[in-house]
């Protein structure tokens, strides 16, 4: 069995609502193991805490209970990097400066950061756009740059927060295929948040299904479709069967204790 890239035990996130004494349980008791090199999706409706969990892993938020163990990166680089939902590119920086930004945050001098960013711009298919500003890029291209920025710091784990949610349907499909190509080339562990069943099934080795109020894991489905996967796989009966099964789990969530063994 592969080594674990990430282990979460009993992670909980509780918010106190403003002006009232009500407490909001965004995440309740989440246990999750992610194997190294695997592609795992967190799938669920809005408000199930999937993005919150990602931010806790990233360090943007501190959980109110529980613990997460992340495998240390070699050469004291970052353990993970986030691909944000709305590309979140700085409009005042060119593409290459945006892609280099994560490195600059890590203390790499600008010149060297730009040099190291170059190959990642090529990897995500933005060759020739390095000196463009974000407003000159389409939504899909902006997400490519967003992805390149995270890849450039060479993190063992890539955290992706619904990166294709704002794209049109065709661009989204193309980007999904592109992501698998890049994942295959870069060999990262990916934790991918989405609310789209077909996206989760197409991309993932495992789909972790979450439910809302309180946010919790209700199922963990291993996707056995062979890789490499072409977009055509979405039209196979096996693919549809996975979609149906997950859709069923979302509609009729079983108690947490029983569901955890679905695999």
């Amino acid at each position: 069995m592969a080594e674990l890239a990430l282990t979460a035990r009993g992670v909980q996130m509780e918010y106190r609502e403003r002006h009232t004494t009500d407490r909001l349980l965004a995440i309740e008791n989440v246990d999750l193991d992610v194997e190294e090199g695997s592609f795992v999706s967190l799938l669920g409706p809005s408000g199930c805490g999937k993005s919150t969990f990602l931010k806790i892993v990233n360090g943007l938020l501190l959980a109110t209970a529980g613990e997460i163990k992340v495998r240390r990166a070699a050469a004291n680089g970052p353990e993970n990097a986030m691909v944000f939902q709305d590309a979140a590119l700085f409009p005042w920086y060119s593409v290459i400066d945006n892609v280099a930004y994560g490195l600059i945050c890590g203390g790499v001098p600008r010149g060297e950061a730009r040099r190291r960013a170059g190959p990642y711009i090529e990897l995500v298919g933005l060759k020739g756009f390095a000196e463009k500003y974000p407003y000159q890029l389409s939504g899909g291209m902006q997400q490519r740059a967003n992805l390149a920025r995270a890849l450039a710091v060479d993190p063992p784990i890539l955290l992706m927060d619904e990166p294709f949610a704002a794209l049109d349907a065709q661009t989204r499909e193309l980007m999904q295929a592109e992501l698998l190509r890049i994942w295959n080339a870069a060999r990262k562990t990916v934790l991918f948040v989405t609310h789209q069943i077909d996206e989760a099934v197409y991309l993932s080795d495992r789909v972790v299904v979450m439910a809302a109020r309180p946010g919790r894991i209700i199922a963990d489905v291993r996707i056995g479709l062979p890789r490499p996967r072409k977009l055509e796989v979405k039209r196979t009966p096996e693919f549809a069967a996975y979609e149906d099964r997950i859709w069923g789990l979302i509609q009729h969530p079983r108690p947490t204790s029983v569901a955890a063994t679905t695999a």
Binding site: N58, P78, F84, P91, C105, Y135
Partner: protein, 281 residues
Amino acid sequence: MTAATYRVISARVRHQRDPLHRWYRRNEPTVLRVAGVVAFFVLWQVTSDVGMIDKFLFSSPRDILVAGAHEVTLPRFWNDVRVSGVELGAGTLISVVIAVPLGIAIGWYRRVSLAADPWLNFTNALPRAALVPLAVMWAGLGMEMKTLIVFLGGFFSVLLPTVDGVRTVERQFVDVARSFRGSDLLILRSIVLPGVVPFIVSGLRILVGRVLAGVIIAEFYAITEGLGVMIYRAANSADQADRMFFGILIFTLLGIVGYEAVGVLDRYFQRWRPALDTEEA
């Protein structure tokens, strides 16, 4: 059965136009702006020449030019220009150099902001003209006092927008920086400063009017030297209206130059923004 009838919606017909017409179409905004200014001065000159308006009170463009031509031969005039220029330049520079960092600190640190807010509102609401006698008591009638008044005008017009600009910095960008473990200094340089520039620029636009008003108020009060004094003293001369208008014209030109300079600065810092007025194909 009756046959259906159709209305034809044709494509736009492009007329072949002569070069002069094409030149006008391209430069219409500039042409109309210049025409507006020229028309005003021509109307002024003509109504003044035919006696419709009183030359003694309202002068005329030609008389203003004549008075100006005489004025620029006087060493006193150039001293006035120097004095007002130094007051404007020093007051503006000091106000921007202090207001921008202070505004960023107030906007960024919530505690500084809470402590400073009452003072900001209080001092901003205070009419600066009321402070002139106090400034004279502190700094005398010289350029220091007038520079202080200019400074006060410029300071708040830049400080308040800067504070607002920092407060509206997008959380999302800060999250990106924090996510990649960026330092506070990097966040300041890469996110806060670029985000706050448009606010500083709109502050500078207000500043232009305020510092010019400041220099005039201070010079009117002190009556020592400067372009404001030149306007003030013109009241006691025979060609009073001509010279007053000449002084006003100088301040107007200073204002225009100031606005244009801010515009240049704006375009330089905003070159990453998409151009809004794209040419029609």
